[in-house]
Symmetry: C2
Subunit: 152 residues, 2 copies
DNA sequence: CCGGCTTTTCAGAAATTTCTGAAGGGTCAG
DNA sequence: CTGACCCTTCAGAAATTTCTGAAAAGCCGG
């Protein structure tokens, strides 16, 4: 029946999922708009209207999405308003942004290893942690490579 | 010099990293204790003392760590207190717990695809999203398999 | 079965995160 | 140069998350 309603529901559900995945609330809702819009690009004002949110919070959300690299600002098409759209490799980017977490884990493990003595149980546990994240860090580039090849 | 101080600092830093990774504050600090303790297992009371936190919050943290499968309750060694320790495959488990997020992403994308028409830009974007997470979901089992092989 | 020691539960407090609304800045048309 | 429009910034408000403290429940030794 009502396609619009269906889409609105799907968009809201997706936003909730994105929040689960670690995005901030308004950033997640904004990203959902970028996904579900029928236009090629949208402006901050359009997002605010669609989400019934203040211009301020939308501005903040856009800023964070830009920083992470999920959306991009389009070369101004002669209009006064800035246009944005979802980047092509947005999902891979979102996934990759966890690499920083992995690196942080590695560093934390390394620091812990340095602070403990060889034989300590803590030392061993930290070594295991280090090994796992080292492994992960090594695997991810190849994983993303396979993805890019597949879409080729 | 002061090993204890070094270890305490490393533990706190690791807790902060874990929080970045998505854990709740107290759960992260508790996990850090499990990593850095020199004992084989610890009790809730010991954790509360070390973190200078209330027994209540420690109880909540332990509960959540148990649920995610990062720690395990040990068969009572004749004592009145429950003993817990870090599970061997804790880190792989922590990583795997993101699979649920991936599955949720897939479902959200599927719902969106169903709610849009074939030619729509939104339809295409959702299809791309779906493809990526489908790919990821397919890769992860093999990744974890390689990890388990490597450790032997 | 009782007493003491632990842990769990939960309502309220504290802290943190997130949103809004208004002021300010930038840009383009005229 | 001016006016209109839109976006950004930021202090304060609102909402959510997280912690605590006290009460209650569980468990073991005696």
């Amino acid at each position: 029946m009502n396609d619009r309603l269906q889409q609105w529901r799907a968009a809201e559900r997706l936003a909730l999922t994105l929040i689960e995945g670690g995005l901030q609330r308004m950033a997640a809702r904004t990203l959902a708009v970028f996904l579900f819009t029928d236009q090629d690009s949208v402006t901050a004002g359009e997002i605010a209207e669609r989400l019934e949110a203040s211009a301020g919070s939308v501005s903040g959300a856009i800023k964070s999405l830009l920083t992470v690299g999920l959306i991009e600002r389009l070369p101004a098409p002669g209009s006064r308003r800035e246009h944005y759209r979802l980047r092509d490799d947005a999902w891979a980017t979102l996934f990759t942004s966890q690499n920083t977490v992995i690196q942080a884990m590695l560093q934390a493990a390394t620091a812990g290893i340095a602070a403990t003595h060889e034989g300590d149980p803590a030392h061993q546990r930290l070594a295991q942690m280090h090994a796992f994240y080292q492994f992960l860090l090594g695997e991810l580039p190849a994983l993303l490579h396979r993805w890019h090849q597949q879409t080729g």
